[in-house]
Amino acid sequence: MSDVNTMQIEFTLNGTPTKVDVAPMDRLLDTLRYALGLTGSKEGCGEGECGACTVYLDGVPVNACLVPTFQVRGCHVETIESIPHESLDAMLTSGATQCGACTPGVVMTACWLNRHPELSKTHSVRELMAGNLCRCTGYDGIIDGIECEQRTKSSTL
């Protein structure tokens, strides 16, 4: 029903130049999942509450359910599919994932804050993770994994 009114959007997706046809207000989440087949980003609420669809837009976490795809033209979008597996060891050990539905979003925010140690001067990990609702872990497994990774990083610096 949207073929009357589609537009081609070009952006960089996980480091690769990408073109996709979208309707003007298609959500980035739908574009990623259904048009581009990247199903790692999950839809948990469709209202920007749960964070399961967290991706990076020009390096900053956003909820892909609240981004119109046309607004990412010319931008860098990174999804869970871009996260190197070896960076997840601490979270695997700490029990950061149970059912896994919130997990891709959790991992995106966690990796972002691990890449930005300066944030720890002003923010607690719990505050920064508050945009990712998890119903299984009670958050300890997640927080422990992040803090463990941070300790490992700071000790290897």
Binding site: T39, E49, T97, C99, A130
Partner: protein, 731 residues
């Protein structure tokens, strides 16, 4: 062992039902009732969409009885001429485009001649609201031991109390979803679920098919908590009906608001206590009345009520006990299974009541509990003799000392006396949770597990028990590997596909590791016997024997098998509700420290300690994760999560307005395991999935009551409710 499917989840590679691409699939959606009760006069289709391009299903398309097969068959698959709750499914629509499908659903009007709805379970219905029997009561149950009235008459103290809890929404992060298609005449459904064989039974019944004509596959399931126990049967039926009519695959994925509005919730409850004590504070009588709101159909309410009343007397020794329970029909969206299954409601009442009793008798709440805790040789309310050697007082003392129940008392008192608006307090709750199906339930289930020996010497675990985050996959792998002395890589856990796996029962009731896990071990033993080994054989010997068997029996399948057997000495009388309600109980004491801001009346948990005896711990990380997650769900239920009801339906069905805890709302949850192996559980384990839901409510309510002197007798203790309680406490 680390979670086996962990990396696939952490990297987003796990394919949940909405992630599975099916060629030629239609989107299916549901038209729902706008009324809590009434006769459906007409279904009006508008002209906003091209209906010739839509597949439309109503009750006339159901090949078999229009009934969802469960305990009773009172619930229709699709409402035909009568509706009993808002959001009841009436018509199904499928279309290639999800967008068009949405527009089509919005273009259908269900016209209902409304009749008076029963919306209040706590009072008798008006005559015009009666829809079942003469009082809308769906089921009553009773436990009776000794002479309650006599004991109350002679008691030194009698303390009464009334306690209420609200509905709770599961908020599994993956919403309900199902795909259905027909292959070689077999109806196949694949989706998010806890109990594949429940779905099989529902499909067989309403589609009038033999078991061979249906097949159910569990897709990776993004959380369940009981919410995917019975509801997936509805969704599977809906998707299957659309797929049969369309002759194409159909995918139904609920959006969050639909999921919250239309699917089950935890039963609201009201529990009355009348407790008698002797002069020393020994419990001599418990008179308990439990009422739960069942919603519009029977669903699982009778068994929720059953678990509720069995736990209502708590882990205390009392000779004279009477517990009356009833579940009442209302024209609300049916309530259903939710972690704890009735026990969190009755244990909240009991453990809040124990603090009320302590205050009334001027006793220390810990001391009151300690002197009444069941000791080995004493009996529960149903007369079950407890004889497991667990030191229950040690559990209580451990939790009390870790939270600082005594040590922080003075500190909090002086803080509270000087701070202008912050108040601190601590509270404790001690409780138990029966693992596995209640009473003769496990016997009736006849759960079966198979272990296949593969030609290359590896083994495959075949069960219908599902991984939904709790760690079944990892635990089964551990159990089989340990039992056979194999490496985890030599163990495959089969996808729960009813075409391949036997019925190991539903994935509910904290039974998977303990009961099904034990069957995995026994099936491993059986496999060893079948290849000519004894139980002690391990490792290469096993692998070689399996491979050898295949060389000698080419083309044949090798299975070890185990069927549930009741542990010796377990007897349950379902008529009189007496005897051994559960094979075993896990025991726990949880303690909370809270801080209340009197400017805003909001309470927050600042420390939480969970001490429990759960048999043996199979996997420390997984077990701790279960406890921490359950506690945080319990904190949500205690303080934040309120289903705002309007005409029997949830009004705040968005995550913006139904508030669950974030990482910033909860403290680290301190977990302590005390181990006392249970002979009939896998590796000595008891069930733990539900246990952590029981303790936070009363521990937090007790802490709040201690800090600010309110009744704290209703959950959730939202700021608005605390404000009202403070008003009535200080008049």
């Amino acid at each position: 062992m680390r979670r086996l499917e962990g990396i696939s989840k952490l990297t987003g590679q796990m394919q949940y039902v909405d992630d599975i691409h099916v060629e030629g699939c239609l989107w299916g959606m549901t038209v729902r009732s706008p009324s809590p009760r009434g006769r459906i006069r007409e279904i009006r289709f508008g002209n906003a969409v091209d209906w010739s391009q839509c597949v439309v299903v109503d009750h006339r398309d159901i090949p078999g009885p229009n009934e969802v097969f469960l305990i009773e068959r009172d619930q229709p698959v699709l409402a035909s001429d009568y509706t009993r709750h808002i959001h009841e499914p009436v018509v199904l629509i499928a279309h290639e485009s999800r967008e068009v499908c949405r527009a089509a659903v919005a273009d259908v009007q269900v016209i209902v001649d409304e009749e008076p709805a029963a919306l209040e379970y706590r009072v008798l219905p008006k005559p015009e609201e009666v829809q079942r029997g003469n009082d809308n009561v769906l089921k009553t149950l009773k436990i009776e031991k000794g002479d309650v009235e006599g004991a109350l008459a002679n008691a030194a103290h009698v303390v009464e109390g009334v306690y209420e809890t609200g509905a709770q929404e599961h908020v599994y992060i993956e919403t309900q979803g199902m795909i259905a298609w027909v292959e070689d005449g077999v109806v196949i459904t694949k989706g998010s679920m806890q109990c594949p064989y429940y779905v099989v039974n529902a499909l067989k019944h309403a589609l009038a098919r033999e078991e061979s004509g249906v097949r159910v596959i569990q897709a990776p399931t993004g959380g369940g908590f009981g919410g995917k126990e019975d509801y997936p049967s509805h969704l599977a039926l809906h998707a299957a009906l659309l797929a049969l009519k369309a002759n194409r695959p159909v995918k139904m994925i609920y959006e969050r608001s639909e999921d919250m509005a239309a699917t089950t919730k935890r039963h609201p409850s009201r529990v009355r206590h009348r407790s008698g004590f002797d002069a020393q504070g020994k419990l001599v009588a418990q008179d308990i009345d439990v009422a739960i709101d069942g919603g519009a159909y029977v669903t699982l309410s009778p068994v929720v009520l059953s678990r509720g009343i069995i736990h209502a007397g708590g882990p205390y020794a009392c000779e004279h006990v009477r517990i009356n329970g009833r579940t009442v029909l209302t024209n609300s969206v049916p309530y259903g299974a939710f972690r704890g299954f009735g026990a969190p409601q009755t244990l909240f009442a009991l453990e809040r009541h124990m603090d009320v009793c302590a205050l009334a008798m001027d006793m220390d709440p810990v001391e009151l509990r300690r002197i009444n805790l069941i000791r080995d040789g004493q009996t529960t309310a149903t007369g079950q003799v407890i004889n497991d050697g667990t030191d229950r007082a040690a559990i209580l003392d451990k939790a009390a000392s870790l939270i600082g129940l005594k040590s922080k008392c003075d500190e909090h008192a002086s803080f509270n006396a000087t701070h202008p608006y912050l108040r601190r307090g601590t509270g404790i709750a001690v409780f138990f949770h029966g693992a596995g199906f209640t009473g003769s339930g496990e016997v009736a289930l006849k759960s079966r597990v198979r272990i296949a020996g593969l030609p290359d010497g590896r083994v495959e675990v075949l069960t219908s028990s599902t991984e939904m985050g709790q760690g079944a996959l990892t635990v089964f792998t551990t159990l089989a590997a340990d039992r056979l002395g194999l490496e985890p890589k030599d163990i495959i856990v089969a996808e729960p596909d009813t075409a391949r796996v036997p019925n190991s029962g539903p994935t509910v009731a904290s039974r998977t590791a303990m009961v099904v896990g034990r069957l995995v071990e026994r099936a491993c033993d059986d496999l060893q016997q079948r290849v000519g080994l004894d139980d002690g054989a391990r490792g290469d010997v096993v692998r070689d024997a399996i491979a050898m068997w295949h060389r000698n029996n080419e083309g044949k399948a090798l299975y070890g098998e185990a069927i549930y057997e009741k542990p010796p000495g377990i007897n349950w009388d379902d008529t009189n509700y007496t005897g051994d309600a559960y094979g075993t109980f896990a025991w726990a004491a949880y303690a909370a420290e809270v801080e209340i801001d009197l400017r805003t009346f909001s309470a927050r948990v600042t420390d939480f300690v969970a001490v429990q005896e759960i048999g043996s711990v199979i996997n420390e990380t997984l077990a701790r994760g279960q406890i921490q997650g359950g506690v945080v769900q319990g904190i949500g239920w205690a303080l934040l999560e309120e289903c705002v009801q309007e005409r029997g339906a949830m009004k705040n069905c968005q995550l913006t307005n139904y508030i669950i805890p974030t990482s910033d709302d909860v403290p680290p949850i301190r977990v302590v395991f005390l181990e006392n192996p249970y002979e009939y559980g896998a590796q000595g384990a008891k069930g733990i999935g539900e246990l952590p839901m029981d303790g936070p409510g009363p521990a937090i309510a007790n802490a709040i009551a201690q800090a600010i002197g309110v009744s704290a007798d209703v959950l959730p203790l939202t700021p608005e409710r605390l404000m009202t309680m403070m008003d009535s406490a200080h008049v």
